[in-house]
Symmetry: C2
Subunit: 366 residues, 2 copies
């Protein structure tokens, strides 16, 4: 065995010498990788699906065509919520979604997308890249042979569209609201009835009063859905999703089969797409909110501070419950809490204090 | 001439066919680029210089060694503030600094690093990548044969270290403060005496009372400088640099001589380094601020709201004056203002409202 390996290595060496002898500059044999990518997003969904297509295009451009990724939107190749399985079992080489979709597989994943009253985009990215968060995320997905990378961030979302004013925590009692994930568990804790509906069914349900309220994303996506025609009150801030991370996931074997330079390119393009998508959200949400206020006369309302305090208490209970589900979830929860405390005071004296200084420049309706 | 060009092209074609005939997978002739990079930063300066070194390493890794960038800190090859000239005239292929250093060459550059009471990191990135800001920046540097890319962001900086309490705008009258750039012009407008000192001279000057105050960066860098030993009051927020953008600049001819895939890699790695550095600042500043508060008992103080209003009025005048210096500066100023208005209300209902919700979780000293 050892002898054969030696011969193999020697052979490679000889070939390399021969190649460099034939041509200068250096000549390198390059393999082309034709990959498939599935996503949890509908076709053409701005930033989420289009950002994934951008990712694939940039990978192609940066690799000079050595990696060609064919992107399939949700349902085009596998059902949207089979994305993780398809990547895990090697049906496809990569996918895009958000970690909270996989809570049924491993509760620990829920800290890597959106935590009610958790970190915002800047905080999440700091945790991932400079605070050990991505290492933990890799640990959580490793048993599934899946390698995660942050690929986008929505920024702070909106609190949702409501058919009535929300004045106290009691107003959630009996409220029928479309709100998935941990946010939904918090609303259920406040006595609300959580309704899960596919995107296409929400508008009609809200308009007919089958729903009293719905959250979606932010102004850019909410405007497209036309919710302002069905519910007059548009509440902020989105305490339930204060900076939702979107992910690109790779099949571990496929990722590790790549030469090192191509792995670095995938990582770099994922990271630039993360920043690109947050920038698209910031810019697009700004423009869409102006349109909602000036053209559609939306009644923009802030959740009362007391209500936020009550919801935060409930969120803490929900997170503790999730953390108790297994040791890995506990480990991730504790690490997240620790990092949030590390950047908390800093956030207050930097971004928060600065926003407060410039905020009074803008008048809000409602 | 045309006939010779035809022969040259035909020759390339024949070589390519021959190469692909010899070996499958495809064989590509690849040139290696050995580049020099100079920076405005001192050796080992965290995030700014080390981030530039990270940029070079990632470029090497992502290109499989096709681009090797040798990084020289400020003064190692050319003086720090000759960075732009060295890149412009092709002495080196690339550099790293911040746009406001080049105000003497073109006043329009000042909107691409730090604008007093301007955009924060998230806003600046949205402007660059999704609001036309980077296109304008390219236009401003084009006459110098320089191609800019954002390579980092400090986040909101701190307001500075003061030997006395600052209660009203009148307290700036006669105050000797080390504060460069547009912020310095604002302080001068408030009656302060702006002192420019190299980094190594600041501490002693502050300790001896030659300076009454100094700004620097944020907690991570300020802690290293030991300013807490020389001035008891640490003020926030850094209204003068609310999200300073750091740049990588390329000599245009060098950048354009690269094949497309290598250009994309440079752009992608610059963009990921931009997000990486903001993440390092967020994480590192959080930890350093905790140390300053708990270990060094720093007196953390917020600038009064009235003072912020007065400084903002002065900043507006300073910016108008700079914008009047030439038509390009006016164009950039107007575009910046327009984008700031686009994301202003959105920032207030999203990040600002969310920070306010979580801020009361943190108690501040002072």
């Amino acid at each position: 065995m050892k002898r054969r390996e030696f011969i193999k290595k020697a052979g490679v060496g000889a070939a390399a010498v021969a190649a460099s002898a034939i041509a200068a500059p250096s000549v390198i044999a390059q393999k082309t990788y034709n990959w498939k990518m599935v996503t949890t997003w509908p076709p053409n969904l701005p930033v989420l699906q289009t950002g994934t297509e951008r990712f694939a295009q940039r990978v192609k451009d940066a690799t000079g065509g050595r990696i060609n990724i064919q992107v399939y939107a949700g349902g085009e190749l596998v059902p949207p919520l089979s994305t993780f399985d398809a990547v895990s079992d090697g049906t496809v080489e990569c996918g895009s979604g958000a970690a909270y979709y996989w809570a049924g597989k491993t509760p620990a994943c829920q800290w890597f997308s959106a935590v009610p009253f958790g970190l915002n985009a800047q905080g999440n990215n700091a945790w991932f890249y400079s605070g050990g968060g991505l290492k933990l995320w890799e640990e959580v997905y490793a048993p599934f042979n899946v390698v995660p990378r942050p690929q986008g961030n929505t920024g702070v979302q909106m609190g949702g569209w409501f058919r009535k004013e929300m004045n106290t925590i009691g107003d959630f009692n009996g409220l029928k609201m479309r709100i998935p994930g941990l946010g939904g568990k918090v609303i259920a804790g406040a006595g609300g009835t959580v309704v899960l509906l596919a995107g296409g069914e929400i508008f009609t349900s809200l308009e007919r009063g089958v729903l009293d309220a719905t959250e979606w994303v932010g102004p850019m996506h909410d405007l497209r859905m036309g919710f302002y025609k069905a519910a007059p009150y548009y509440y902020y801030p989105g305490w339930h999703e204060p900076g939702t991370t979107l992910e690109v996931i790779f099949n571990k074997k496929a990722y590790e089969s790549l030469p090192k330079d191509l792995q670095v390119i995938l990582d770099a393009v994922a990271m630039e797409t993360n920043l690109w998508s947050l920038s698209e959200f910031e810019s697009g949400n700004g423009a869409a909110l102006q349109e909602l206020i000036t053209k559609h006369k939306v009644n923009l309302k802030q959740f009362p501070a007391d209500m936020m305090d009550e919801l935060r208490k409930l969120a803490k209970e929900v997170l503790e419950e999730e953390a108790n589900k297994d040791p890995l979830a506990r480990k991730v929860h504790d690490a997240f809490k620790k990092f949030k405390a590390q950047v908390g005071v800093w956030g207050t004296v930097s971004e928060n204090a600065y926003y407060n200084v410039i905020a009074d420049k803008f008048s809000l309706k409602g």
